[in-house]
């Protein structure tokens, strides 16, 4: 009997080992995502896992970060997200090159929060940031890229996922002009997604203002039908800021319509994202069957100022593990297990790989039943033995072996 493993040999709470086939699915999805990012001209960066704690400012993120001290007693954080490190990178390293800076990443992030609530302490984010341009075309470009990524992975807009789009400056602009005294309180309540509190605050206001304060965050509907926009336009009222935000949203939608990305986009004027972070368009992706966001993003024009470069910026992050959990099932990639300790076996394996067949060479002389067991354990579809005139091929699931010439194996197993 095996000895019981000591507790310290398990993974720490919220982290896990990822094994095949899940790891394969994760890394395949990551590769496809990065491929689409490149197609849209975003270039990858890698930032350190450790950052000085001062780099991250948002209290909630700082609280949730793992902390440690370096030999100089400086407090360090394991990055709890990637947007801020990328902002730091842009401000420090790229100031001598012309904007906009279109960068992408796929990196693990670390958070204490949610451990025990079924959320992970370590997960992968893949995202893009377009820094240095305030154009609505950049917002639309990021959204279109996100939709493109999801489609490329086999998700259908409107059926499998919805992209919920808001404009944080609209409600803020309305509140600032109509009822500045309560604006901060209302926005804090809405950032907490507490519409009941918004209603409570509105009761002290003039009836027509109260109605707007209550109703704007409840404006939700498909972007393809114009009715939500029309209703929002009625609330813009005297506020130039709200009207400008609405116009910005119209322009973004115009770009999206032009590239056929409007299906599955839902407008939600109650979506403002994290408190005091997003300054314009803000969006979240939801997939059917998953209670959490798959991706989120938006415009954050105030973040770069902290790093001494007041640049507008927009971008999104995809949570890769969540994305993979909603992807359609896929057959395992083709793989052949070639069995044999002889030099002929080694040569046959090399020849097969040369013809494009993925081969796991098992350099032992295993009997067919055990070899088939092994092949199934690594999700290989076929078992081969070296033979005169080619290789002897049998399906791992059972079936008669056949002698096939080496150059014909690809045609057999890759179909």
């Amino acid at each position: 009997m095996r000895e019981k493993t000591p507790r310290k040999f398990s993974t720490t709470p919220g982290t896990r080992d990822v094994l095949p086939p899940e790891s394969t699915r994760l890394l395949d999805a990551q590769a496809k995502v990065l491929d689409r990012f490149r197609l849209h001209g975003f270039r990858e960066v890698v930032t350190p896992a450790l950052e000085y704690s001062e780099v991250i400012e948002e209290p909630k993120l700082r609280d949730s970060a793992f902390k440690l001290f370096d030999p100089d007693n400086q407090m360090l954080l394991l990055r709890p997200e990637v947007t801020t490190p990328v902002a730091r990178l842009v401000a420090q390293r790229l100031r001598n090159t012309p904007p906009p800076y279109k960068l992408s990443y796929s990196l693990p992030v670390y958070r204490r929060a949610g451990v025990g609530r079924g959320q992970s302490a370590e997960f992968r984010q893949a995202g893009v940031e377009a820094v240095g341009s305030g154009s609505p075309g950049e917002d639309a470009g990021a959204i279109a890229l996100l939709v493109d990524v999801l489609r490329a992975l086999g998700l259908r807009p409107g059926t499998d996922f919805a992209l919920v789009l808001g404009q944080a400056a609209f409600y803020r602009g309305y509140l600032k002009s109509a009822t500045p005294g309560v604006a901060a309180g209302v926005l804090a309540a809405l950032a907490n997604k507490d519409l009941v509190r918004v209603d409570e605050i509105s009761r002290a206001l003039r009836p027509e203002v109260a109605a707007s304060v209550r109703e704007i965050p409840r404006l939700v509907g498909p972007a393809a039908e114009g009715s939500v926009l029309e209703r929002a336009a009625r609330y813009a009222g005297e506020s130039g800021e709200a009207a400008a935000a609405l116009e910005n949203l119209r322009l973004i939608l115009g770009h999206l319509r032009a590239v056929g990305c409007l299906d599955g986009v839902m407008l939600d004027f109650g979506l403002i994202g994290r408190h005091d972070y997003y300054t314009g368009a803000v969006y979240e992706v939801y997939a059917s069957g998953l209670g959490f966001t798959v991706a989120n993003g938006g415009r954050y024009d105030n973040l770069l100022r902290r790093f001494g470069e007041p640049l507008p910026a927009t971008g999104f992050a995809i949570s890769l593990e969540r994305l993979v959990s909603v992807l359609p099932e896929q057959d395992p990639a083709p793989l052949v297990v070639l069995v044999g300790a002889s030099v002929e076996a080694t040569r046959a394996a090399a020849e097969l790989r040369g013809s494009g067949v993925p081969v796991l060479h098992l350099a032992e002389d295993l009997p067919p039943a055990e070899a088939a067991d092994y092949a199934r354990s690594v999700e290989a579809g076929w078992v081969c033995y070296p033979a005169l005139g080619g290789v002897k091929v049998a399906p791992a699931q059972g079936g008669e072996p056949e002698i096939v010439p080496v150059d014909a194996v690809a045609g057999r197993v890759l179909s």
Binding site: A162, K193, L195
Partner: protein, 215 residues
Amino acid sequence: MRGLRVAVPKGAIFDDALAALEAAGMPVGVLREDGRRLLYRAEGAEFIVSRPSDVPVFVEHGAADVGIVGKDVLDEQRPNVMELGDLGTGACEMVLAAPREEVENVRRAISHAEVVRVGTKFPNVARRYFEGMGRQVEVIELHGSVELAPLVGLAECIVDLTATGTTLRENDLVVLDEISSSTARLIANRGAYRLRHREVSALMEAVHRNGERVG
């Protein structure tokens, strides 16, 4: 596509929750017939019956689309869900209470910023309350009959929920401060609120109308 899946809490606000859902046209009759089941189906809708403190967990994870739960539970857990409506029912108060003969001692201890021991089912609410006043507290988390704690010297006072004050009176506990008031709330999963907006907003409207009438 299935209908909405609704998480309903057992206990004090169960009947209020059913009344509100019924007013919104949901087929809740099945929940009244047999009190032992955990999952009910009727006319496409599904109902989960769970402990009140589990309702936000089901909803946050999307295992239920919407749920009904007291504001007290939301204050304690701060789940990442949409809080959509006030049912106006199930009103109760979160209070700080102490045994009658200890009231002055506790009051003095708090005003002198001494460490006070508090027994409660709501550790986060209790901690935030004392921190908000700049006072120190040692929270002892309990899962039932919190009133017992000060009677046997486990804690000096309690932070607990009271609707009528009967239990407090029976145990000779006196309210020192009202921390917050709570009513039943309609909550929704963030995804369900958008992906099933038509159904969820219809429920929200109905709860709102009903709440105005009740409240």
